[in-house]
């Protein structure tokens, strides 16, 4: 199955599962956003950060 086909199923199904209504314009925007973000999100998810010990309650005003 092509990624666009999967998105065509995922987006309406995801919205419907949350009870969010979407018209054609909404779906067109969401589809475009998805095409823009999803490859980068997948890349982010595949980034190996397993060795990064999480900062607990990081103070962003200071160096870690």
């Amino acid at each position: 199955m092509e990624a666009t086909d999967r998105a065509a199923e995922f987006i309406p199904a995801g919205l419907a599962s949350l009870g969010i209504e979407a018209d054609e314009v909404d779906l067109a925007v969401i589809s475009a956003a998805h095409q823009m973000f999803w490859p980068a999100i997948r890349d982010l998810l595949s980034l190996d950060v397993s060795g990064v010990e999480p900062e607990r309650c990081p103070d962003l005003s200071r160096a870690p």
Binding site: I20, V29, L47, E55, L60, S61
Partner: protein
């Protein structure tokens, strides 16, 4: 010269010395807004009576009597913020926001509210409940966002300083597009009280937009609640990254930024070091994911079925799409935040500042905010976040400064980033950069501001 055309600090000095009447200065600012604002839509509301009341009550602070603009992101005692939108999902009300108090206590006078990109969700300023703000350098071009109005207002010399907010570059990006200096403070150093996301945000800060670094220091000191002491940037160690953020940029942007970095090195007697900083694009996406997740804060899905019909189609769709973002990605974004914070902490042992272009290309057309880069055509939003997201993700301060004009007369900006708490060093470095180029770019006027003043 008209007092209104002086830098913020000189306006304040003239008033303090009795050489300028603050009531006349406010009147001149309001007149200029009436004259020039229709072309740029930078200021969306003025309230002369409120401004005059502020002036009447103004203490003898460092900004006594100086008119400024504040972004439509901050509540005022007489006005709730609209966030550039027909409605916000978060409740809002008039009130004394932190930036309002900071300005009031410094003696400044709020002359108007600045336009902004709708819901802060864009880097171009081409979408707003009030209609798009326009770039004074070319009114068919984007002024940048989301602090579009504050930047456009200062660039057009409606006022000499404005308060913006920066969550993923929203001060630095319009500064670059409009030829201004804009400081994104270290997270937590500047006033944030009263912002509708103050309790949940880990990226947004208030900050100054002015023509030059000295004015950012003055206005920034008010927002920080402490004096941002001037020092020097002697021996500045400048780190440059040979990566997408500095390489996948329009050739004339790259040339201008490289020339500026070399001029800064010469001026400070410093050095330029090539440094490695991997995963900058992942960091930018992480910042976007975090701010989008934080902005959801408590919104029930069914609330999205009752969005106001006048909200832009883009934001209607995108608000709904946010609900589909995987939690795993946000968790991963937090890991990337930690990773990048540790990498930066190590890098700032080797260099004092990291430099790269603020934006990859000059201000795009309002009608189609796309940029042509060596890698191809991108939306301006896609390209812009690459260079600015890192500072918001990690909390470090960053400053954008003008370093040239493109062949079609549009500003080019350089960004400098420093370690946590070294906001003052960035101001010092930006001042050194101004000296290095003879203040040519901070004093350059857009065509709109070159128009002969008709006001007193």
């Amino acid at each position: 010269m008209n007092t209104l055309d002086l830098p913020l600090r000189e306006q304040a000095a003239a008033i303090a010395a009795g050489d300028a009447d603050p009531a006349e200065l406010l009147a001149a600012a309001l007149t200029r807004i009436e004259q020039r604002n229709p072309a740029i839509n930078a200021v969306v509301e003025t309230f002369p009576e409120r401004s005059r009341e502020m002036l009447d009550a103004a203490p003898a602070g460092p900004l006594h009597g100086v008119p400024v603009v504040i972004k439509d992101e901050w509540p005022l005692p007489w006005r709730a913020q609209r966030f550039g939108a027909v409605e916000l999902l978060a409740p809002t009300a008039p009130g004394e926001s932190g930036p309002y108090r900071a300005l009031r206590d410094a003696g400044a006078v709020i002359a108007g509210v600045g336009n902004m990109h709708e819901l802060g969700a864009g880097s171009t300023g081409n979408i707003s409940f009030y209609g798009p703000a326009r770039n004074p350098w070319n009114t068919d071009r984007c002024p940048g966002g989301s602090s579009s109005g504050p930047a456009s207002a200062v660039a057009a010399r409606l006022v000499a300083g404005a308060v913006g907010a920066d969550g993923v570059g929203s001060i630095r990006l319009p500064a670059a597009y409009c030829g201004l200096t804009g400081l994104k403070p270290t997270f937590g150093r500047s006033a944030m009280e009263g912002h509708h996301m103050a309790a949940v945000t880990s990226t947004i800060v208030s900050g100054p937009l002015c023509t030059d670094a000295a004015d950012c220091r003055l206005l920034g000191s008010a927002l920080f609640g402490e004096e941002l002491a001037a020092g020097d940037a002697v021996g500045l160690r400048i780190g440059v990254v040979r990566d997408t953020v500095s390489e996948d940029v329009a050739p004339e942007v790259r040339d201008a930024c490289e020339a500026a970095i070399e001029a800064l090195r010469t001026e400070t007697g410093g050095e330029v070091r090539e440094i490695a900083l991997a995963d900058i694009e992942a960091a930018a996406l992480a910042a976007v994911l975090i701010i989008n997740t934080e902005s959801l804060g408590g919104v029930a899905p069914e609330r999205l079925n009752r969005l106001h019909p006048d909200l832009s189609p883009l934001n209607r769709g995108f608000l709904k799409y946010r609900m589909l973002l995987p939690a795993a990605a946000t968790v991963q974004a937090s890991r990337v935040r930690t990773l990048m914070r540790r990498r930066l902490a190590a890098l700032f042992e080797q260099v004092d500042a990291i430099a790269w272009p603020t934006v990859a290309a000059v201000a795009p057309p309002l009608e189609a905010p796309l940029v042509e880069l060596p890698s191809g055509t991108l939306t301006a939003d896609q390209a812009n976040v690459r260079g600015t997201g890192l500072a918001n993700l990690t909390g470090i301060p960053s400053i954008g400064a003008p370093v040239g004009l493109s062949s079609d007369g549009l500003p080019i900006g350089l960004q400098l980033q420093a370690a946590w708490g070294r906001d003052e060093l960035l101001l010092d470095a930006a001042e050194a950069l101004e000296r290095a180029n003879g203040r040519r770019w901070v004093e350059a006027l857009p065509p709109l501001a070159e128009a002969a003043p008709t006001e007193a």
